[in-house]
Symmetry: D2
């Protein structure tokens, strides 16, 4: 009755997932861990009373593994998913689905060929209480039909060596997914405007960026991305509807007055803001695995769409033009 | 390795606890349910795949019960705890510890005589992320030494037939406990001021009430209780310290603008506000039971102290005077 | 058509008033200035193109003075008002009306004997846009009948040598007046609780103080005064009514995110918060003088009542008891 | 010493200005009023004790008029300014400077030919305490160098018959000016994106609109305009800088909790939000006139620039392209 999960990847995210599964998710345990770095796999296994194995195949094949969590480096997601498709156990795969559009398409085609959905993709914001409450406002009793979605995404400072494309494929990709999820429709076009870099932005980075999308029905989606915002980590989403407006902030409990300022603290890093989303994502996935019900999270189609949008964003950034977004028809499996 | 919990009481709170244990708490399951209303016990058992039993004794004695959760009516807590002491399994008991001061003292004496702590008391606010963040501010790096604790506790409307004493023993008792927990010291005195009742307050109720306590070291604790506030359910705690001030609100994520108001929604009932505190309380208790570590929540001493304070509050309300709070020395077991 | 104002007192407040009259109030000019320090009077006069005189009597008697503003030290207000009563020109007098209760009563009796109201008292908070908006909520369409008034009054640090009585007579006196004005009724009783002093409170000061009043009809009024709050200057007033709750804060326009905090700035001193109230108070008084209409601000009766309450507060603080507030009947002149 | 103002236009805005001058601005009076509707001019004159005249020329020529305020319909501003230039008295002219770009240019050229600045243009937001506080944050001690300016401008409902061009020339023109003023530089390009209209937007209107500008140095300026927002009137400006972020909201004093919502009220109309800005604008202008100092508000150059931007916005909206903004060199007179 307990779902025994095999974990692929024992880095930061993989470790956080494994600890959640073992200690904070009902009905789950971690039986097997793999990491390309065997020492890391052993250390995590020891902490959890699990068993370290030497290959991805071993994880998928193990008799005492009911389901698999992939938290390996982005570049091997596609390949590991393909291995998993051969075995047929349920998978939770960290985002992104794949690095390139071709790989993303190949994975999509493979799951479609398989004829059933094995994979939930780790766009964890869909489980965040803040976004869930925001989406609940998009009703006639709430703010009416959504007309503008304005997103703010700030990181305190960009990792050393970040290139502008990564702002689009790793950072803004969360907004690409979450606005699609809020609106329940695809995008039609995208523009990217590079602002003047601040004095603290490393040379060569285009930062901040303003991304402007328009959905198929004409809804405007703005994303203000700033990877070197200095003031802290912050994610805000404001939806203006035909009847009102709803803004998702950070759900702070405590306002502090000190040293001539009254306000809330902003985190330096992102993990704290979305810790509960990560836990709820895992509980939802484990519950679906146990009940053999449909996955509550993002699908491979969602991951493929996000990859396409990110690639069009790169093109829009390079050309300075508005670029059309040209998804193929959505396979029946994902409707 | 899974802690099998027996649940006593299948009413609103007992059911919420049982569902949390079965579905949202890691390492726990519900094996046995008792309720004075056998139909209710059967219904909950069926939903959880558990077994309904016919007596409290059966719950405590069952071989497949590792720990017991008491969520029965307030008046039988003391008696059921006494039964549990005879068996020796870990207990999570809903607040209050007992209705009368004598019963509370008897339970305290019994656990002291037993020589080890079996019981965690269900003051779940101690697990609320809001209060936890607030307490974290009470440091030299935060707001310094606490000097004033101002509490607001609003209910939308009082249950039919509520008498003023119940405002103190059932509603304000949460603040009695939480301010003790924040300050980590006992109270020295208490006053109660009955305000003029609003036009919507049922005849005979004294509502709102202002309770003013002073701690042993002189910290002022105010509690504004209003059981018929109409505008919604709301709990606020403001601590003013020697270096700053921290206010705990409701952690709302979404601000809505509609119909010429911009603001956050207030719940009509209390459960939603503290849902996460209930889950975390159970997880903490189950983790302690599994690891045989100390309970992370309130003790019988805390429950006894709250009962004494509530009784002095009733006296202060009746006499209009400041009443001293005269706890016996804290038993070594609780230090 | 321009009201020519004579100003008594060229200290901080007197200078601020004079500059407002000359530069920001329609229909007013400053013709004459007196200060016990002749150098100060000359300097202010020179700046305003006014004339410095050598006595209070000269100010009241001057042909080119239509109305008089008293901003002298507290201890001479009563004596100067008596001089003014002999001349009969309209007066705006800074609070307090008098230092002692006997003097306050004498001034009250003198104006009553005169049979007409010559004096508006400088409780400028009644003109503050924040308090005015708050009072506008006290209607059936707003928050209903007021039941609890909770006031927060923080100073960054107390002036050197402040004694606890001054916290009550100079600082909290604003709340004594403003809650009376909000409720439109007198107080029945008062209690004062001295909290444990913070580590930064100068020895001998009782700070913070909690003052609890009850109005004649039973409304509860709390005042949390903290003269050494360190975190900044702050005034908050929360009124809980039978239908809702309204909180007056500081009307900040700008929220700043910086260095891992998002919030509003708090001033170190009080003048900025109430600058607009001072201007509006003067404009209202000048308009009344020009139109010979009734004064829009506090009367001598209001000043007398505040003085009585402050004196009962001192008694309550000294005795630790609840003290009754025993105003004489309100003279017909003030109804 | 009092500045006697002649008022041209006795409609809503002209009346508001005239009442402010007569009753709330120090050192000003209204002596003469003209309106194309003589009845309206007479009514306002009677209320203010002024004199109605029959032509614009009479206003400018009157011996008892020291300065002139133009609040006539937009279409005649340019012509009346030209008349005023012939007389040489100081002018405060409501925005816009002119309706068409050619007229705006002609007025600009005329003042340049005159060789001195006679006109302050009525972009009153520059005097709003909110925007002034926001601008004060744009320092190294504040939020650093501005990088993104995000503006929200909502009207409750568009006037009957509004065409999309008017959203740009009458509504968004405020943001065109205010962002220039905040950044202290000109724009380089503009794009306009029309969102899908809400179900309550009148047929034929493009609403909401997203305008994206980039300044000469590369700062991104977004303007979300929504003329049929329904939820209320709201203006927000968020500046993200290299060191932090500052958001200007509405400066509400009172938060109300009622009917399960806690929040601030939003006005239905715009006048209340900027009432103080209007008063301060007039006081600043009158002070400059009296002291013969430079005008503290917008110049004809600012008005010309706003007109050019609005025209490029119309072109961008029609073509769906990014359009360059091509101002001529700034005349020396305005540096």
């Amino acid at each position: 009755m307990t779902t025994r999960v095999g974990v692929i990847g024992a880095g930061n995210i993989g470790t956080a997932h494994a600890l959640n599964l073992a200690r904070a998710v009902s009905g789950a345990s971690v039986g097997v861990v793999f990491d390309a770095d065997a020492v890391r796999a052993e250390a995590l296994s020891a902490e959890l009373g699990a068993r370290a194995v030497r290959s991805v195949t071993e994880v998928f094949d193990a008799d005492d593994v009911d389901a698999v969590l992939i938290a390996s480096p982005d570049g091997v997601h596609a390949e590991q998913l393909m291995i998993g498709f051969g075995v047929g156990k349920p998978i939770l795969c960290e985002k992104p689905l794949a690095v390139g559009e071709a790989d993303a398409r190949a994975v999509l085609d493979a799951e479609v060929a398989l004829g059933r959905r094995l994979v939930q993709l780790g766009f964890m914001r869909r489980f965040d209480p803040g976004y869930v409450q925001l989406k609940a406002e998009l009703t006639p009793e709430g703010i009416g039909e959504p007309l503008i979605v304005h997103n703010i995404h700030r990181n305190t400072r960009a990792p050393y060596g970040l290139v502008t494309e990564q702002t689009l494929t790793n950072m803004v990709i969360h907004e690409f997914d979450i606005a699609r999820w809020l609106l329940e429709e695809e995008y039609a076009s995208i523009m990217v405007l590079a602002g003047t870099p601040g004095p603290l932005t490393p040379a060569g980075q285009h930062d901040p960026l303003l991304v402007v999308l328009q959905s198929a029905s004409g809804v405007i989606v703005e994303i203000e991305a700033f990877a070197n915002a200095r003031y802290g980590y912050e994610v805000v989403c404001r939806v203006t509807g035909s009847q009102g407006q709803a803004v998702m902030g950070d759900g702070s409990f405590v306002t502090r007055s000190k040293a001539f300022t009254r306000g809330v603290g902003l985190p330096e890093l992102w993990l704290g803001r979305f810790a509960e989303a990560y836990r709820l994502q895992l509980q939802g996935w484990v519950d679906a695995v146990r009940s053999e019900g449909p996955f509550p999270g993002a699908s491979i189609w969602d991951g493929y769409a996000a990859t396409v949008v990110a690639n069009r964003a790169i093109e829009a950034h390079r050309t300075g033009r508005r670029v059309a977004i040209d998804l193929p028809p959505r396979p029946v499996l994902y409707t």
